[in-house]
Amino acid sequence: MDTGIKMLGSSMQYLKQKLDTASNNVSNMDTPGYKKDTVIGRSFGTVLSDALESRITKGYNLGQFYNEPGVYVDEVYTDFLQGPVEQTEDPWDVAIHGDGFFTIDTDIGPLYKRSMSMRKDLAGFLVTDTGDRVVGENGHIFIGDNDFHIEENGTIRVGGQVVDRLNVVDFANREGMEKAQNGAFTGGGGMVQATGAVMQGFIESSNVELSEEMTNLIEISNKFTTNQKLIQMLDGINNISSNRLGKV
């Protein structure tokens, strides 16, 4: 079989994943607290040497690596770079400048968020816009019919009186954090107290760089076409070998 066509096919699949990820970034360029994703590829070279190595050390036959070359998605990397912090003057909006995540209590356990547009639920507790309760150091945070003020270290005051403190945490293993929906993340390993400053009346915009995404898009489109042309060329060569070699 012709490995070249398979290789180019895997490259097209990889580019498709890049487009899917770029598309999600651009869709969420204005979603508060959204962090951009980047597709990291595993190159042909790596796959080749892996296979060679396993052939030597584990005694695999050569056929195995001939069948699986190409480029693959290694991981989708989430870039936790700080997004711009924008003033909304709405006391119910909070963001973090620096490292850290707010803790929220959801149906599937605790999740972590960078920026929240809060409101009150029917019982008078602070919730996110999707209705998940915000977690403080003493559990859920009761506000009732009061104005509140949040200090930089997360302390919540109602009329000068300390009510609770927002549970702002960070994770040593950020790579273990998976995206859940609604701009929230699952926890990674190694929870520590965060160093970032809590800012009331602000939201954090997404850290998507438009120019980066758009140039990516052009690149994806062009590489995809190149792959197609190469497949067509190889197909042409196959065509010659199968149909014209025997002719005089």
Binding site: D20, S23, V26, S27, F65, V76, L122
Partner: protein
Amino acid sequence: MIQGFYTAKTALTFRQMGMDVISNNFANINTEGYKKDEAVFEDALYNLSQKQYPGGDRTYYTTGSGTFISSIGKDFSQGSLKETGGNLDLALNGPGFIGVKDDFDNLFYTRGGSFKFTPSDEEGFKNIINDQGYFLVDSNEEKIKVSAESNDISIETDGEVIFDMMEPVEEGEETRLLMVNFNNPAMLLDYGEGRFGRSDLSGAPYITERSSVLQGYKEMSNVDLAEEMTDLILHQRIFQLNSKIVQTADELESVSNNLRK
């Protein structure tokens, strides 16, 4: 199929919806007592994919599926107050609502408005109704009635109603406007004409004393022109960029379809 195509489509759909919200705010910029709507955008579900490599190791990665509007709610921040001098123009300064009711005893909540006298069913009394014909009620949810001969009515900032030729009342029995608030006012039902009704999501009304009633004032809309304008431009740009992504995804599909000449 290319997921990116549909991912970008979600942004087109929901940004369009966002633009509808903004244009409604624009249309009501001069509507007395109008409260602006706000759409909150969030990212949608993530799919977990798994890839197996030669040699046996696997990796997992997630692919997003776009964006959606998690809620469209009213922003009940204070609108600017305009002095009219009208004796029965009422406005609220601070959070909350005053109660009004229709002919069939259905209770609604409003931020104020222009009221006038109307003859009551009861001989010798008159009620107070607003422009749309809803009766002002007291804290017992009864229509407020004043003596038919009385012309001078004053409403204190705490909502107490005082009129001339009033019979003296004991302390604690004063006629007071029904002033309430909700735990989650953003989810009140909007009936138009500045009227709101409770919903399951807004919670039950509770009496509040945090706001003051201003007699002789009207509350203007809380729409901020500059804010809506920049929002509109942003929505337009996001719409444009995502339509580019749809185009690119379509190109890739077409390239794949033409693999075989």
